[in-house]
Amino acid sequence: MKTLFTSLFVPLLCAVLPKGARADVVFTVDLNTTPLVTDLADQPFSLAFQLLQGDPANATNTATIGDFMLGGGSAAPCPSNCTTFGNESGDATSAIHLSTADSFEALIQTFTPGSSLSFTVDLTTHPNSGVAPDAFAFSILDSSLFPIPTQDPTGADSLLSVFINSTNPAILTYATDPTTLTHAGNISLTMGPPTITAAVTTVPEPGSFALLGTALACVGIGALRFRLHGRGARISPTRRSRK
């Protein structure tokens, strides 16, 4: 039985283990928000993050947004200054968690802009087998909760969007559109696109560190099996002779 375990189950387990890994994209977003500081007509501004399900029949993706730095500005505390959609949790004072377990998860949080805004996004990248990919997007809203006009060709006026159509999807960024006036302040805003510092990487699942340990154990068991297998070849006749 032990031989059966080491011969069949352990190699099978080890073959399955790599599937526990997942692909993430991890990137830092930097945005010069100086033009917002002097735009009193559109204040207060809000940060808006959203993660949308493309196909309800597919695997869940998650986005974790953290490491916020507001360049002298600040995020107003939740819940009084926030609007959430779905099972979103967290806020920009710590970290925001979104998933496609719901069709639409989002956070709108009021903030006071400083000279810059930066944050880190950790986005899982399980592509849908269905027809539409999941999507992550970031925009800045004016006091009427309309997004600052950007050059986003979809009309969604996002500053950043990611369509999870592969394990390494493109990160799309857009500058503001100075030819379209803001909804609240009725002014033209000129702001460059966010700068992306991408660290495209494959990150083990949080539970995969345990799996990694198991995988290492597999290697150990395999090595032990190798030794036992060699020794067993010598001792088996002895066992059979005991019967």
Partner: protein, 248 residues
């Protein structure tokens, strides 16, 4: 553009065409009329047979001024006066189309048996012509479709999605090209739809017309769909691509 003009039996074209405005051609081949000059018309003598038939390809660019362009067919007697029809005095058309939408209807009228022709003789009785609309062609099997994810605009409360249509066949796909959304999930409506299908079944599906006139092999065109969905549930639909002349 009128083509495939046919007179059954002993009917046929007689004489030369008389044109005005921006009109040219002949009933013996094809007739082209535009609204570059008004009125544009072509009149040509003919000998009636049993049935007169023709094919009409009519552009449907709607006037922004509120008064639509109009296309009509009348049959004139030897005084160049229209034979009375049920369209009524002052009109007396056999077929009348007002271009008040991208998919206008056609009114056909029978001979008016209560009024005598200007040239004399008894009232003329004939049935109203049959008008059959040619539907746009379904080219879904000749294209590949790629959809982006949805992104929500918190101001307009609309979800946006970009759909790219690529000609995966070896032949050019004629424009206009319409993207039809069949089985659109009940949670959503297509906010920027042009209309719904009224000719190419299944009917009642919203569609949007792409900017492309036509698509060469391997070429693609993209269109942005905007959905209204107060429930914010995931929107699902099937795509159908229609091409060429004819109503979607």
């Amino acid at each position: 553009v009128l083509t495939n003009i046919q007179f059954s039996g002993n009917g046929g074209v007689a004489g030369s065409p008389l044109t005005a405005g921006d009109a040219w051609g002949s009933l013996s081949s094809a007739v082209v009329l535009t609204d570059a000059a008004l009125p544009s018309y072509l009149a040509q003598q003919f000998t009636p047979g049993g049935i007169l038939s023709f094919q009409l390809d009519l552009t449907t660019n709607v006037e922004s001024g509120g008064v639509p362009d109009g296309f009509s067919v009348s049959i004139l007697d030897n005084t160049f006066t229209p034979i009375p029809t049920t369209a009524g005095p002052g009109f007396d058309t056999v077929v009348q189309i007002y271009i008040n939408s991208d998919n206008p209807g056609a009114a056909s009228s029978a001979g008016d048996t209560t009024r005598t022709p200007a040239a004399g003789g008894p009232p003329i009785s004939f049935n109203a012509p049959t008008v059959q609309f040619q539907c746009a062609s379904d080219v879904s099997n000749s294209v590949s479709i790629t959809r982006s994810g949805y992104v929500f605009n918190f101001g307009t409360q609309l979800f946006s999605q970009t759909v790219t249509i690529t000609n995966s066949s070896g032949a050019t796909i004629n424009g206009p090209i319409s993207l039809v959304l069949d089985n659109l999930s009940g949670n959503a409506t297509l906010a920027n739809q042009v209309s719904v299908t009224s000719c190419a079944a299944p009917l009642g599906s919203p569609y949007i017309v792409t900017g492309a006139g036509g698509l060469a092999p391997g070429a693609n065109t993209s269109v942005v769909l905007q959905f209204s969905d107060p429930s914010k549930a995931t929107t699902t639909y099937n795509t159908r691509v229609l091409s060429g002349a004819g109503a979607p």
